[in-house]
Symmetry: C2
Subunit: 446 residues, 2 copies
């Protein structure tokens, strides 16, 4: 069965309240499939499925859910069930979940947390939203550089259940300053009587206040199963695990991708998202873009006289604005990506502008020459020159605008992805029209 | 130092051939930073840096590089150095690298591989490019269900160096059929005398012929550190590790993102990519798009008579085509994503079309009403009606086209991302103009 078929099947069973069959189906399904199912089902269906799972399975599955799906599910469950879930979750997952819930609901559940859970979540809640401190786990094992390997391995075995990962053991000195890192592999490879400081490696760490996306990207670059999180004094306070890093990046990239396409990301799978939610994710963007496109009407209004004199000019409008939009969005997607990957900083704006100027000019020479030849053959040399020169100017202008806008967006603390394709297209449309009619007036003497 | 500064600094040192300072700098830098450096440096610089690394560090660093950067580096190194690298690499990395190199170079190096490496790489090379069999590691540990935990743990310790990961131990029966999976954590938690079958969990696996992106996505969904790869008879033949899964997905998403922006992905960091390479990545796309945009010129040519009669119609062309393009690309990015996530299959084309029809209609009603009111106020009720109705029709049409095109692309075995934003915009531009002038002719009686 494909996932779509499974979803339909489970939805049918819930509709028919055939819980015996549903429970049978669920007990045979592997954990990851059940959690994917819950991620994708409407919250009401998901709650029914969730209640049919055994207690241990339920928590395992819940931990794998996307935060949005967790929050939706929580709002469908009764208070007693919710407290049970919170008690069993890892503290960083509790915090992630609290961030998703409405403030009123958050407050109520925080009151109901056990002292143990409250102690574990408090340090995480102290970091600002969007920082990696919010996403780290405070439950990990540590080793001291002067311990021997046997002692550490024994500790790993004894405390296995309380740590989120046992495959990475940060090494700290007496003041909890991070001095190195030992993987379980390093420890198993070593002789039992070796000291930790002989076995450990230099650690790459992140500071808890760092942006979560940047930190997660570093974690994946390093290729470690977990990365230590430290405070500003280099003291160890948490661990970022690779699966949490993958989640952070996925959520961030889904958002980027959606915004580059001119809408907000959907929180659930497409086929199960109601028309109204899809319309809400797209409508405001479309509206703002259409309103900014009124600019193009105004620009053309200014040039109505030459347009009336030579209607042929109108024929090229979509071609020219389209090419400008495409050139701009090519540059914008490249730069948005480079910014996300931390390749480009604010100070590079001049270098980027110059590079895009040359790139846009090269592209413009190629396209302009072609446009000149074709337009000359069909409409004569005057129109040919106008089209050729306009293409050259528009490509150059659009590449620079498309390259620089994402950096400016970042400077203004706006998500660069917002400035990707659609807004740059609209901006380049209006500017392109001004260039077009200025060149046409100059050459054709309208 | 930011990465950009580091890159400039290293590039300067190479230019000045200040190798003492460079070696000093490298020996202080953490491994991940050095590999990021090599990923981003031009190949000639990278070769100099690579030669300055100690032998062990060099291999560690090389393994972390992107395949494209590995291939570039290989072509810069001498034959003896290359053979040294090949011998030390994991077999799946050797294969990944061979895939990147030109066929002639591949052949030469395959001949120079040691018998051990050839034995290890041969099974991987047997799978088609783009399948997960190409990306799995054939070097792993296994356990038998009737062994006890102590025996397996001892095996893990003894064979630690030869396996790519030791954190996941697939469990196979006498015929090598996969019967379960035991994480190192499960094994450490268990009593030494327990049997493996009491400790192991049900395994989610992928078949070696599956598409690598889909398999990698499953690996991340499952949240395991490694996932077993089996043949069509469920026999274990390899292991897909989470860091390889992350690499596969990153490469695939970079490609999707670039194509959605209307260009090919750059193989290196933006600031270090020469203008010529950027132009090559963008030029062909821009050209094809511009040539398809000639369609819009032809459509407008047909309607030149009504345009001459009422030039006001020209004013709305960029607004209307822009809105169509935006609606289409909203739908296209959503559906491209849903296809990549395996939410949508070929058979869903009807459901998608109907869903987009309703979404586009809702958006069209909202935008059309607004367009009607504004255009009526400025240009009178006739133009108002034309604009309002055109917006309604264009939004509906573009949403359906944008939603359906990626599925059709997939059916035709074209990357759905190619059909994302730019081509759909161009297509919707031309169709939108036909709708516009048909409505205008009907209402205004031109």
């Amino acid at each position: 069965m494909t996932m779509t078929e499974t979803l339909t099947h489970v939805h049918d069973l819930v509709e028919r309240t055939d819980l015996v069959e549903l429970a049978g189906f669920l007990s045979d399904a592997p954990l990851p499939e059940v959690s994917e199912l819950l991620d994708r089902l409407p919250a009401a269906d998901a709650a029914v499925v969730f209640r049919l799972l055994s207690k241990d399975t339920a928590i395992d599955v819940f931990e794998r859910l996307e935060p949005a799906a967790q929050a939706d599910l929580i709002t469908e469950l009764g208070d007693a069930e919710v407290v049970g879930v919170f008690e069993a979750l890892d503290p960083d997952d509790v915090v992630g979940l609290l961030d998703e819930l409405p403030a009123k609901v958050t407050k109520r559940f925080l009151r109901e947390l056990s002292p143990r859970q409250r102690r574990a979540t408090a340090p995480i809640l102290g970091f600002p939203q969007g920082s990696i401190g919010r996403r780290m786990t405070p439950e990990y094992l540590t080793a001291h550089p002067d311990e021997n390997v046997a002692t550490v391995l024994e500790r790993v075995r004894r405390n296995e259940a309380s740590a989120e990962t046992i495959y990475v053991v940060p090494v700290v000195d007496a003041s909890r300053t991070l001095v190195g890192i030992a993987s379980l592999r390093d420890l198993l490879r070593a002789e039992p009587e070796e000291f930790v400081h002989e076995v450990m490696n230099a650690a790459t760490s992140v500071v808890a206040y760092e942006d979560d996306e940047a930190a997660a990207r570093r974690c994946l670059d390093v290729g470690l199963i977990a990365m230590p999180v430290v405070d500003r004094e280099e003291r160890l306070i948490g661990l970022l695990t690779i699966d949490d890093a993958v989640r952070i990046i996925r959520a961030a990239e889904d958002e980027d991708r959606a915004r580059a396409g001119g809408h907000e990301p959907l929180r659930r799978t497409y086929l199960l998202t109601p028309i109204l939610s899809i319309t809400k994710a797209r409508g405001p963007w479309l509206l703002v873009l259409a309103i900014s496109a009124i600019l193009t009407v105004q620009v053309l209004h200014i040039y109505e006289a030459p347009l009336e004199e030579l209607t042929t000019l109108a024929l090229f409008i979509p071609l020219l604005t389209g090419t400008g939009g495409n050139t701009g969005s090519q540059a914008a997607t490249t730069l948005t990506r480079a910014i996300a990957m931390n390749e480009i900083g604010n100070r590079d704006v001049g270098r980027v502008a110059f590079k895009e100027l040359r790139t846009g000019f090269s592209l413009g020479i190629a396209l302009g020459t072609l446009g000149f030849v074709i337009a000359t053959l069909v409409f004569g040399i005057d129109i040919g020159m106008v089209i050729g020169l306009t293409l050259l100017a528009i490509c150059t202008m659009s590449a620079v605008v498309g390259g620089v806008m994402p950096i400016i967006a970042k400077l203004c603390r706006v998500d660069p992805a917002v400035f990707s394709t659609p807004f740059i297209s609209t901006f380049c449309d209006a500017t392109g029209l001004i260039i077009y009619f200025s060149i046409a007036k100059a050459i054709l003497g309208l």
